[in-house]
Amino acid sequence: MLKVERINCCLENTLILRDISFQVTKGDFLGIAGPNGSGKTTLLRTISGILPPVKGKVYLEREDMSQMDKKRIARKIAMVPQNTFITFPFTVREVVAMGRTPYLHRFEREGKKDLKKVKESMLLTRTWHLRDKRVTEISGGELQMVVIAQALAQDTELLFLDEPTSHLDINYELEVLSLIARLNKERLLIVILVTHNLNLVARYCQKLILLKEGKIYTQGEVEDVLTSENIKSVYHVKALVKKHPLTGSIYTFPLCFNGKTETKKREKIHLVCGGGSGSALMRELWDRGYEVSAGVTNVFDADFETATLLNVPLVGEAPFSPITDESYRKNLRMIRESKAIILAEIPFGEGNLLNLKAVRQALKEGMRVVIINKTPIHERDYTKGRATRIFEDLKREGAIFVKDEKEALSLIEKILNPDSVI
């Protein structure tokens, strides 16, 4: 059991951590996350006894850690660093056996029990076949597994990991964390994982501490801590948090497609779409900061999903049902609030012809209408030519036809910001 009581930490006279308190008990799997510079690694160094806190105390099984002998701490806490560099060509087995150091007297050689423990942890990490190789000759992923084997050979109740997989391929990443999760469940090993990968946290940790500027922003069960609001205020990134259908755990997804995290509010644009025809454009507009609305689509179709994820207001119609007059009017209201309308490349049938009519109505009322027309209308007209005729009217009445989404976007930018050079 490890208990951290109101600690402050300094690095070269700069206060890095303020007022940190938490505790872990048998079987806990705690994640520590936060942006770069939030003090994650400093916290881990403090609670592992490397860095003494300037205020507050760390208790290891009710004992003040600052008063404990390093060797005794080493029998309780093992640490896996981000990466390890070894200059001299020790064999893999020699390096793993160094994990037994806290149990051996100065001139004592590793005994039967030590060698058993070394072999066991090498088998667990699947590094036994490397035992006689030189650590200078194996790959980075293999070396990290060897270091983990060493930490397991240390036979501790607590295992700390500092970004253990940030240099590894995804196959090693999964292998490492599945193994740690298994040991956590089977042996009630207490695990503290520092990482910037929120999805790893969501998948493997039970508890999470979110650090922000050297303080605990919030802590608790992962589901309670990992919310869009918390991520927004800690990382300044809009993120999606959902339950993953395959893993059953929640996952986060940063909603930022252009690399810009924050954009100023821009004009309102209405997108007439459906069936997935407008998703890409909707995302792009949203990302550029436009206030987007959409309609009318059937509930649960691809555009509807995208709009829900992005929190875009949308007029939805019941699945497989034609557009009702009510939805038509709602759509028109949204259209009238917008600066411009884009008509995505939808196939038209009897059910959604009202969408086309709404666009024509908008054009009549003097609004700007941009129509994407890559596939000629007669190829996607399932209304015996009625849609094609409306298209011809639209063309005559001044709607702007473009060949794809890209052109539509640059046109919209040009129309709405005539001064800016693109």
Binding site: E12, K70, K71, P81, F88, P89
Partner: protein
Amino acid sequence: MLKSRRKFIGFLLLIGVITFWVSLSMGSVSVSVKDILKIIIHRLPFLNNWIKSEPAPQKYELIILNLRLPRILLAMLVGSGLATAGAAMQGLFKNPLASPYVVGVSSGSSFGAALAILLLPGIFSVPLSAFFTGLVTIFLVYRISKSDSRVPVETLLLAGIAVGLFFSAITSLIMYISAQSVHHLVFWMMGGFGNANWDNVIAATPFIGFGIPAIYYFSRELNVMQLGEESATHLGVEIEKVKKILLILSSLITASAVAVSGVIGFVGLIIPHITRIIVGPDHRIVIPVSSLIGGIFLIWCDSLARTVIAPVELPVGIITSCFGAPFFIYLLKR
């Protein structure tokens, strides 16, 4: 594994004994092994009453006891000491290019020797001054590198280079302004055992004799330190303490070696390498084997230095480099 290590150390001890006898008999006057045995047994307590035989000629006794024996013992001490200190420094700095001189001890000692040669030349003043300034250098370097009760090895290395260069500059200045004693100083800076006597042996023995086993005492820590300082701490090593002790021990050894024999290059850098190539990187074996190979190597180099163009002597540093460098290149390319 363990058995073969013991065998190897036994083999080295045997070579050491052979080296010792052969080098005693070598020289401008060659003395037979039988005579050497007589001379030494004659001097040993108890044994001299036990074995009665004709004493060896008087002049042989003088050559063996007053010239060759102290010289060979000193070469052995210095060779073992420098090789062990080198192994410790390479482990401490996690850098195979580190040597006993890496933290500026040699430049500091040279400065002390130069100062003594200039101001109060004497048999004792030069080595004493060299020893003292060598130690001052290491404390200076240590103080410069210390920040927040921690001594980062990178800073230590750089501070060592800076302080070393500073002392070298002052030594050059001294040499420049005191033209007549330059020859003496140059000979000292090249290093050698031409002035070896029993006083030197007695002066160096306690430091080197204590330093080598003391470094061996920390060989497990040296191993664990190869994982990085924080990882070593997580394995229960009091890293700052161990670092300080190892630094002091290797500096003591180096400073006393430099004080009695000048700056002999190469041994401290190369011998630990050769050792690791032969026995692997485990310091529990690297430290004792380095000290054995270092001692043997330097005895041979010195024997060659005094016989190659006898009666003229070569500075031993020339020999160490001429033999060590090609051998090292061979090992690297093997």
